[in-house]
């Protein structure tokens, strides 16, 4: 919470508002009320952002394909999510006859709850964190891992082969990429020396001249950030890693048998997971809520945080508009043959960085090792066995 730049009123407006509201209550209720208000803010803001993102995504994808995108409902089509929400609510809620109705009902709820839990430790601005946990990073990834359970619940309880296949793909993919996700985050813990997200942001919220000390501006940080982004894309089942719902082969994957609002909950949860991981990426590598240049510190911290999240979301959308879906074997090869060795190497490089001390030498050494490994492993990975024309020994 200690920071060098001046803390303005606009920066702390939500904290001041919360304190003012809480002080209207008797003192015994204040701690609980404070937490409830924070939770309400999270539950209100991020789904709102989701609604906005769906429009931006559809319009952005349209523009990438030289189309206009939705522009009918409201000005420039911005009320489209309201129409979509009404549609989802009024649709029939179909539960397959042979489905395990209880688990089928619980799966989307479990998913939504675990996804929301991740936001509890995310610092969305200076002092704006619901729970300042000492092991916030650990809690965040524990909650992220719990989403796999709900995905498998959905696939299993539907009693549908496509749901089952989708769920199996999803679990295989999420577990494989969770390794890379965690290992690339561990580098930050090694340097910051803490699992507390507040301390990780504070460690980056320093400036040399006008330039910030963000971890992305170091060789190991850049490599970690790239691996983190790829793993996060796979974790959230976004294109090009959207095999779990690959509609061209398995209908809609684990949410094939979900309709109406239950499907909408899956949809919301997917986007919320995107926000959570984008926020986590920003916190770990892009300095969280800190300003990108020192003299821009007067702009409220929460604006910076949401700007960084939205930039990440734009890149998610951009990738979705560009890249085709991978094959299952390509996905697994990339996870285990490229991502895992590279992140492990990156751990060693980070340790090297930590112990080489300040100076230009560690920049050169670390950058050279990582770039060399990237090129070498890329060559290895892209090397294909050459299969020439078939030759016959006897039937010539």
């Amino acid at each position: 919470m200690a920071s060098t730049s001046a803390v303005t009123g606009a920066d702390q407006i939500f904290i001041l508002l919360r304190d003012w509201l809480v002080h209207l209550l008797p003192s015994a209720l204040r701690p609980a009320a404070s937490v409830v208000l924070g939770a309400i803010a999270i539950v209100a803001v991020f789904p709102g952002l989701f609604a906005l993102t769906t429009v931006f995504e559809r319009k952005g994808l349209g523009r990438m394909q030289n189309r206009l995108g939705p522009n009918r409902v409201g000005p420039y089509g911005f009320f489209q999510p309201i129409a979509d929400g009404i549609k989802a609510l009024t649709k029939e809620d179909v539960v397959p006859f042979r489905a395990d109705a209880m688990v089928h009902f619980l799966a989307p709820l479990v998913l939504l709850v675990t996804v929301f839990m991740g936001f509890a430790v995310l610092p969305v601005g200076r002092n704006m964190q619901l729970v300042d946990m000492d092991s916030g990073l650990l809690f965040f990834f524990a909650m992220g891992a719990a989403t796999e359970l709900s995905v498998f619940m959905a696939g299993w309880s539907s009693r549908n082969k496509y749901s089952m296949l989708g769920a199996m793909r999803a679990v295989a993919q999420m577990i494989s990429y969770e390794v890379a996700l965690l290992l690339s985050s561990v580098t930050v813990v090694m340097i910051a020396g803490s699992l507390s997200l507040t301390e990780i942001v504070d460690a980056q919220n320093q400036y040399t001249g006008i330039f910030p000390h963000w971890y992305i501006f170091t060789p190991w940080g850049l490599a970690s950030f790239l691996m983190f982004s790829i793993a996060a894309t796979a974790e959230t089942n976004r294109s090009p890693f959207d095999l779990p719902e690959g509609e061209s082969e398995i209908v809609a994957g684990y949410h094939t048998e979900y309709s109406g609002f239950k499907f909408a909950i899956f949809f919301v949860a997917e986007y919320l997971a995107m926000f959570a991981l984008s926020g986590m990426g920003a916190t770990l590598f892009l300095g969280g809520w800190s300003a990108p240049l020192k003299f821009l510190g007067f702009i409220p911290s929460w604006i910076w945080f949401f700007l960084k999240v939205m930039c990440a979301i734009f890149i998610f959308i951009w990738m979705r508009g560009t890249l085709p879906r991978l094959r299952q074997d390509q996905l697994m090869n990339f996870a285990w043959k490229f991502a895992l060795p590279f992140t492990l190497l990156n751990l060693l490089v980070t340790a090297l960085w930590r112990f080489m001390g300040a100076g230009w030498l560690r920049w050169v050494v670390c950058a050279a090792i990582l770039a060399g490994a990237y090129v070498f492993m890329g060559r290895m990975g892209m090397h294909r066995k050459h299969i020439g024309p078939r030759s016959y020994r006897y039937a010539e």
Binding site: G60, N66, W318, T322, Y374, V375, M377
Partner: protein, 216 residues
Amino acid sequence: MLGEGIIKGMLETAKNFAGSFVSEDRLTTVEYPEQRIPTAENARVFPFLVYDGSDWEAGMRCVACQICEKECPPKCIYIEKSKDKKPDFAGKMQIYPTRFDIDISVCMSCQICVEVCPFEAIKMDTQFELATDDRFGGLLLDRRELSKSNEYYHSIHPTEAAEVDARLAEEKRAAEAKAKAAAVAAAQKAAADAAAKAAAPKIETPAPKPPDAGGQ
């Protein structure tokens, strides 16, 4: 190098994204209810009945021959013939349909009725906005709803309509020539008869054979 292709692809979509805001030519979308592209000249949707002149009932070309009704594969045409007659475009007396219904919920737009019609009376329309909330009455078009003027036909299928008009004019001219020839022959015959009656008995002069009217 690894990732080169991804960057190339991302640049391509970025170019599209930025370009779609700058150049309107990139956007292929036609915003339908407000913007429309004219239908192709030989577009066809459902049949309509052509009439000449300004009065749809008097100018209707259909003579209720029922060929289209019989040829229609899904049997969506229903015709009732009139008891009386009215003059057609060439002035010849013809019967006409007192009822001509097409059920466009059954019609499959095959254009066979148009091809078999000897009187150029039924043609394909390009009107496609026929949605209605009454799926029985609203999709059963009667002869009033089916009647469209020859000018309208010209506006939707100009080339085809010009050919049809030329053909009809030729037919009309031939019919008039035939009538004139018949009149001349009749006059000659009358004159010859009178002359024969006046003059000495019985030398038969055969009347000149009128030119073949051609036609259908």
